[in-house]
């Protein structure tokens, strides 16, 4: 009985804490952006405006669940679920502490890459099924962008895999006992971070939803909780990428004095904040520039990184 109960409880606990956390991130992002933009941000509902998220949730749940009559209804409803499910699934392999994770897969990184690419389907389907021109343009942009950035996202992690000698995330964390991988794998970290930004389509890679050009891009026609799911999906994506950066490059739960879980959360939150800071600071490039940046700069760089890491490892052995 306990053999079933423990993973089940872990799963539910992680699921609940993840969705709560990504909802709380909405508050965090708004407050942090406000701080950097000389404003207050939401500070009226509850202490420090913390209950703003609850109020927003209540509102978004109470909204009419409207499907545009001109859309392809079944797909339209499915798309936000795909985005959120893909993001949640990928968390299965994230090692939060030595004891807590859902699946300890030997192909952890491959699983993450595979599942997170499912995200594209959500965006393309949303853009296509909305039957609106802005959504379509957003969906097409999203597809092209995520396909191109996926290519070197995988490659950027190969250095880490080579150093650790494993695809298993837990092994990778353990392999960093001596030296966190961001030192030997700095290029890999930078490339992975950029790919992660693109994967979560945050500024400066928010072209699929560029509000100044495409109104709201692929989710233009969405409202209510379906829009909320895109929103939460985006924040889940940010948490996911931050958690992976922590696990792959910054020693995961490793750290002195404090319990492992605290270290993991602190490191993850730091990168989440970095995501938000970038949003406050950077403008958005043109689509063409984004593409050539991906194929002409990032892809060769990540290949070079793999080559160099491999050469050094060979030389050492």
């Amino acid at each position: 009985m306990t053999g079933v109960m423990v993973p089940l409880v872990t799963m539910i606990a992680i699921l609940v804490s993840l969705t709560t956390m990504s909802a709380a991130l909405i508050w965090m992002e708004r407050r942090l952006l406000a701080l950097w933009q000389d404003r207050y941000g939401p500070n009226r509902v509850g202490p420090f405006g913390l209950l703003q998220v609850v109020a927003d949730m209540l509102k978004i749940f109470a909204k009419e669940d409207w499907v545009p009559p001109f859309s392809d209804k079944a797909v339209f409803v499915l798309a936000p679920a795909v985005v959120m499910t893909a993001a949640l699934l990928a968390f299965a392999v994230v090692p939060f502490t030595p004891g807590v994770s859902i699946a300890d897969l030997d192909i952890g990184i491959l699983f993450f890459l595979a599942v997170s690419s499912l995200n594209i389907y959500g965006i393309v389907l949303a853009g296509w099924s909305s039957n609106s021109k802005y959504s379509l343009l957003g969906g097409v942009r999203g597809a092209a962008q995520m396909l191109s950035y996926e290519v070197f996202m995988g490659l950027s992690l190969m250095g880490v895999v080579m150093l650790a000698g494993s695809f298993n995330l837990r092994d990778i964390v353990e392999a960093q006992r001596g030296l966190w991988f961001f030192v030997p794998q700095l290029p890999g970290l930078v490339i992975f971070f950029i790919a992660g930004l693109a994967e979560t389509h945050r500024i400066p890679f928010d072209l699929p939803e560029a509000e100044n050009e495409l109104v709201a891009g692929y989710h233009t026609e969405y409202s209510g909780m379906k829009f909320g799911m895109f929103f939460v999906g985006e924040y889940l994506g940010i948490v996911l990428i931050s958690a992976l950066i922590t696990a792959l490059f910054f020693g995961g739960w490793l750290g002195p004095f404090l319990p492992p879980a605290v270290w993991f959360v602190m490191k993850t939150l730091f990168f989440v904040m970095l995501f938000i800071l970038l949003r406050a600071a950077l403008p958005r490039p043109r689509f063409g520039q984004l593409m050539s940046f991906s194929w002409k700069l990032m892809l060769p760089l990540s290949l070079l990184n793999v080559l160099a890491t491999g050469a050094i490892l060979l030389a050492r052995s």
């Binding site: 952006l33 950097w36 933009q37 000389d38 404003r39 021109k133 802005y134 343009l137 942009r141 500024i203 400066p204 928010d206 072209l207 560029a210 509000e211 100044n212 050009e213 495409l214 109104v215 949003r279 406050a280 600071a281 950077l282 403008p283 958005r284 490039p285 043109r286 689509f287 063409g288 520039q289």
Partner: protein
């Protein structure tokens, strides 16, 4: 002025009796010609002179039918007025043609100036004067279903003068039909060479259009093959309103034309009225005007700067610039009591003297701004993504800019140091030390750069105003200045009666015509006023900079992407109120 006054001689030498001169209060050379000779005269002015008039600065008309004091040549029912500008000779010329009521038709000037397109559509829309050979003879400011031509004197100006408005199903169907997008109306094709194009309707409500304007795009993927602009959603009949206001009470309406420009709109209006009335403004009033105008230029540029960065996806600068603008508003509020639309200028001066402590406010602002501007330069102007997105984008050549009637920072970005504050100093601008920043490339980045540098120059002018504010009256003692003086009204009945009339009806400005242009935040803003010797304008024409600027957009964005269109629109700095009036 030099060659400026020569134009009448040049025209008489060429056309003899076919042209006749008129003397206007503003000393702008004005000639009349018959509609048949018009094209010839305009062509001669554009191409046949040593210092040609290369810009069609304004094109408008007057309904002469109820005008008492008109020039002898105005023997028709309508008069069309072509206002041409030569930057080479720093001179203007007005060409007028009288039109009898039974043949309201002129040859089109679109073959001479590309910019004539929208102007002629506007004249057709508001006066019903046809332009033969115009490529797109449709309404531009009013809905296509509108009946009548509002700037005609027999068109009602008030709602109460019109019949009952009924919006029944039939009317609704008609309106909806008129909104239907038909590509061929805009000269677009649905497909070519087997490629089917997508039409994208950006606006009238869209975050990238800065106000209510519709951009119609013919797209091949994300590439813009063709673009057309549909304007007029912001038309409020500002010119028609002028005809039923007194000279004094029209001032607050002008504020709202370029709603970010505040007193920069009052400026050309009061200067034109003062030209008509022959009022000399005291020095203190001049400097107060300059100071407020420059503060508003800074504020307008701050709004534009923030929204421009926002257009390129940078979300933070808009909050910073709005905060800074708020500080400037603090000064405006202390001086005027209002914020965006202070209506602070008066005929003959300003509404009241500066309040106690104004200098502390202004000084703290001029001390505060430089560090902010340096930061913005770092954050936005030197950002490589911003550079990558705007350099070489939407290039306007100097010749094209002059041809399209582009003025202000957009023209200076093309390399022409044309600034009315330097070229035709008004209100004592010749006494101030400042530079006119120019750039060479004429692309979006240059437009941004020039405007940014202007903020520095404006700060410099504000500082000079602060340090050299003259003593004396803030308003002229001239009998036509408004509001009239009140000191003696309670002493004798005659003064009281005069004062009462002067307040309720306002002054009677002598009959005549005057145009006055100033360097507004977006370009040259000119008010062309016609007085029939009454208590209000017979015709108030507002030549705004945004109107011609917007007309260049379709040409600038062809072959680019949707994101580039947004960047170009952001770099041009227009305000829909300024376009549609």
């Amino acid at each position: 002025m030099g060659p400026d006054t020569l134009v009448i001689e040049e025209l008489t030498a060429r056309f003899g009796e076919a042209v006749s001169a008129e003397a206007c209060a503003d000393a702008i050379p004005t000639v009349w010609t018959a509609p048949e000779r018009l094209t010839e005269v305009l062509k001669f002015l554009k191409t046949g002179l040593n210092y040609p008039y290369r810009t069609l600065y304004d094109l408008t008309a007057i309904d002469e039918r109820t005008r008492q004091n008109r020039p002898v040549q105005a023997n028709g029912d309508f008069t069309a007025i072509y206002h041409l500008l030569s930057m080479e000779r720093n001179g203007d010329v007005r060409v007028k043609a009288a039109l009898p009521g039974n043949s309201l038709s002129l040859p089109t000037a679109t073959g001479i100036w590309k910019s004539a397109n929208w102007y002629e559509r506007e004249v057709w829309d508001l006066f019903g004067i046809e332009f033969e050979g115009h490529p797109d003879p449709r309404r531009i400011l009013l809905p296509h279903t509108w009946k009548g031509h509002p700037l005609r004197k027999d068109h009602p100006a008030r709602r109460t003068e019109m019949g009952r408005f009924v919006f029944d199903e039939e009317k609704q169907a008609e309106e909806e039909l008129s909104l239907k997008f038909r590509p061929e109306d805009w000269g677009m094709k649905a497909n070519s060479d087997g490629t089917e194009f997508m039409f994208l309707n950006m606006g009238p409500h869209h975050t990238g259009t800065h106000g209510i304007m519709r951009v119609l795009l013919e797209l091949d993927g994300e590439e813009i093959r063709d673009a057309a602009l549909d304007i007029g959603y912001h038309h409020r009949g500002a010119e028609k309103m002028g005809e039923r206001q007194s000279w004094h009470t029209y001032i607050p309406y002008t504020d709202r034309v370029d709603y970010l420009g505040g007193v920069l709109n009052n400026f050309p209006y009061v200067l034109a009225v003062e030209t008509l009335a022959g009022i000399d403004v005291p020095d203190r009033a001049k400097v107060i005007r300059v100071m407020l105008a420059e503060l508003f230029r800074i504020m307008s540029h701050l709004v534009w700067f923030g929204t421009f960065a926002q257009d390129l996806g940078q979300v933070s600068p808009v909050f910073f610039t709005f905060n800074d603008r708020e500080r400037a508003f603090g000064i405006i509020e202390a001086i005027c009591g209002f914020r965006m639309h202070p209506a602070w200028f008066r005929i003959g001066g300003v509404a009241a003297d500066l309040p106690k402590g104004w200098d502390t406010l202004v000084r703290s602002f001029t001390k505060y701004m430089p560090s902010r501007l340096r930061e913005y330069e770092k954050v936005v102007l030197r950002n490589s993504i911003i550079k990558g997105r705007t350099k070489g984008l939407g290039v306007l050549s100097l010749d094209d800019a002059i041809e399209w009637g582009v003025t202000g920072p957009n023209l200076r970005a093309c390399g022409m140091a044309w600034d009315l504050r330097k070229k035709r100093p008004y209100s004592g601008y010749d006494q101030f030390e400042f530079e006119v920043p120019t750039a060479e490339g004429g692309d979006s980045y240059d437009r941004v750069w020039v405007r940014f540098q202007e903020m520095w120059q404006s700060l410099k002018i504000v500082e000079q105003c602060l340090n050299n504010m003259p003593q004396g009256a803030y308003k002229s003692d001239h009998v036509l200045a408004t509001p009239p003086r009140k000191e003696k009204t309670m002493k004798d009945i005659e003064t009281l009666i005069d004062h009462f009339l002067d307040v309720s009806w306002g002054p009677v400005i002598p009959a005549g015509e005057a145009a006055f242009g100033v360097e507004a935040s977006k370009g040259n803003n000119t008010y062309y006023l016609v007085s029939d010797g009454g208590t209000g304008p017979y015709r108030a024409r507002i030549r705004t900079p945004s109107f011609p600027h917007l007309q260049t957009v379709p040409g600038l964005c062809r072959g680019l992407e949707v994101a580039d269109l947004v960047a170009i629109l952001g770099s041009i700095d227009f305000v829909m109120g300024d376009v549609d009036r």
